[in-house]
C-alpha cells in the first residue's frame, strides 16, 4: 500500500486527465450524437443515409484505429494536431455513434400510438418530434446514455496508450517504477476507475427503475 500512498500526486494527475477526457469527450459526443440522431429520423432520405453511414463506420472501427489515425497517421502526412486535442476528437467521434444509437432506440421505444395521436390531431413533423416524441424519448434515453458514458470512461484508457497523461498511462509508468508492488499500484488505479463508473451505474439503475414505474 505504501507505493500507492507515496504516489498519490501522480494518481491525482492521472485521475484529472481521465476526468478531463471524459468531460470533453462526453460533451462532444453528446452534441455530435444528438445531431446524428436527428439526421437519422429526418424525412429526407439522403440525410438519413449520411447518418447511417457515419454510425456504421464508427461502430465497426476499433477505437484504437481512430486514435491511430489521428495521432499516428495524420502527423505522418504533415497534419499535426496536438495529442490531447486529437484524443478529444477521437473519443468524441467514436462515442457519438453510440450516443446516436441510444437516442434512436429511445425514439423507437416511444409507443407508436403517441406519434399517431400527435399526427392525427394535426401536428406536423417538427411539432410531433419536439412536443411529443423527444420529451418521452429523452427520459428513456438517460439510462442507456449513462451506459455509453461509462463505456467512454473505460475507453479513455486507450488514450493512455497514445501518450496522453491519464490513469492508464500513469499506471504503466508507476508499475515500471515499482516492480515489487505492481498489484497494489494497479488495484489503486482500478479503484480510481470504479470511483467514476460505479456511481454512474447506480444512477442509471435508479433512473431506470423510476422510468419503468411510470410506464
Amino acid at each position: 500500500m505504501e507505493a500507492v500512498f507515496s504516489n498519490l500526486d501522480t494518481y491525482w494527475l492521472g485521475f484529472k486527465g481521465t476526468l478531463e477526457l471524459l468531460a470533453v469527450g462526453g460533451l462532444g459526443a453528446l452534441l455530435l450524437g444528438t445531431f446524428v440522431a436527428l439526421l437519422r429520423i429526418s424525412p429526407i432520405a439522403s440525410l438519413r443515409g449520411v447518418a447511417v453511414g457515419f454510425t456504421e463506420l464508427m461502430r465497426n472501427t476499433p477505437l484504437t484505429l481512430v486514435f491511430f489515425f489521428i495521432i499516428v497517421v495524420l502527423p505522418a502526412l504533415q497534419i499535426r494536431i496536438p495529442t490531447k486535442l486529437g484524443a478529444f476528437i477521437a473519443l468524441s467521434l467514436y462515442t457519438s455513434a453510440f450516443v446516436a444509437e441510444a437516442i434512436r432506440s429511445g425514439i423507437n421505444g416511444v409507443p407508436i400510438g403517441q406519434a399517431e395521436a400527435a399526427r392525427s390531431v394535426g401536428l406536423n413533423f417538427g411539432q410531433t418530434v419536439q412536443l411529443i416524441i423527444l420529451p418521452q424519448a429523452l427520459r428513456m434515453v438517460v439510462p442507456p446514455m449513462i451506459n455509453v458514458l461509462i463505456a467512454l470512461t473505460k475507453n479513455t484508457s486507450v488514450a493512455g496508450g497514445f501518450a496522453v497523461v491519464e490513469l492508464f498511462a500513469v499506471s504503466k509508468g508507476l508499475a515500471n517504477q515499482h516492480g515489487n508492488a505492481v498489484i497494489q499500484i494497479l488495484l489503486g488505479i482500478a479503484a480510481c476507475y470504479l470511483v467514476i463508473t460505479i456511481p454512474l451505474g447506480q444512477v442509471a439503475a435508479r433512473i431506470e427503475r423510476k422510468v419503468a414505474m411510470q410506464r
Binding site: R40, I41, P43, I44, A45, S46, L47, G49, V50, V52, G53, E56, L57, R59, N60, T61, P62, L63, T64, L65, F68, F69, V72, V73, A76, L77, Q78, R104, S105, N108, G109, P111, I112, A115, E116, R119, F125, T128, V129, I133, I150, T153, K154, T156, S157, V158, G160, G161, L167, F168, K172, A175, V182, I183, L186, A190, Y193, L194, T197, G201
Partner: protein
Amino acid sequence: MSTSSVLYDAPGPKARRLSRVVSVLAAAVVGGAAVWLLWALGQPRVTVNGAVLTGLWSPERWDIFGDPRVWRRLMFDGLLMGTLRAAGLAAVLSLILGVVLCFARTAPRRWISVPAAIVLEFFRGMPVLLMMLFILLALGTGGYTAVVLALTVYNGAIIGEALRAGLLALPRGQREAGLSVGLTSLQTRLAVEFPQAFRQMLPIIVAQLVVLLKDTSLAYVVSYPEILRVSGYLKDYYGSTRYSFSIFAVVLLTYLAVNFTLSAIARWLARRSGPQAGAITPKEQP
C-alpha cells in the same frame, strides 16, 4: 424505403421537390468533402526540412501490396493468428463465463448471488486495457493469455448482465408455469427460462462479440502481435513515411470487412428472433 414513417405524411409533389433539393445538396456536400479529402491526400507535400513527399495515391506508396509476403504477414500472422485467434477463444470463453455469471447472479442463495454481483460490477467498470496490463504484469503471463483472459472476463461480465436482463424481462407466467408442472426452481430456469432469455438476447450478445473483436486491437498497447501491431512492424520494416497511410488503409478496411460481416449477422438474428423494435422510425438497414 419500403415502410414509411408515421412521423410525416407520404410526401406530396412539393415535399418531394424539397427532399430532392436537400438530397442533392447533401450529396454535393458529402461527396464534395470526400472528393476534396481524396484530392488533398493525393497532393505532394513539402516537409518542414524541405523534402518533397509524393501524394498518397501515387503507386510507389502502394507497391508493397504486390508482394505476397506482405499479405501473408498481415492476413495470416496478423489477422488470423493474432486477432481472430485471440477473439475466437475469448468469444467462446466469455460466452461460457457469461452463462455461469448469469446463473450465479440470479441464484436464490445469497452467498452465491452477492459475490457474483460484486464480481460483475467490478469487471464491468474496469477498462479492458487495465485488465490486460494487470494480467500481464501481476500474473506474469504471456501476451496471448493476457489478452484472451482480459477480454473473457470483461465481455463475460457484460454478457452475463445481458442474459440476466433477458431473464428478468420474461413474463412471470413462464416461471410459474414451469414450477406448477412440478419442475424444481433450477430445472425451470434451465429448461424454460434460460433458453428464451438466450434467444431474446442473442442479437445483443453478437453485438458484444463485435465489441470483443474490436477490443482485440487494444492488444496493440500490450505488445501482442495482432493485425495492428503487425502492421506497425511492417511500417518499421518498409519505411514509415512512405507506407504509413497505405498500410493503415488496408488494416482499416480489413477490420471493417470483418466487423460488418459480424454486425450483419447480428442484424439478421435480431430480425429473426429479437423483439419487434423500430415502431416509429422506418426499419431500414443498409
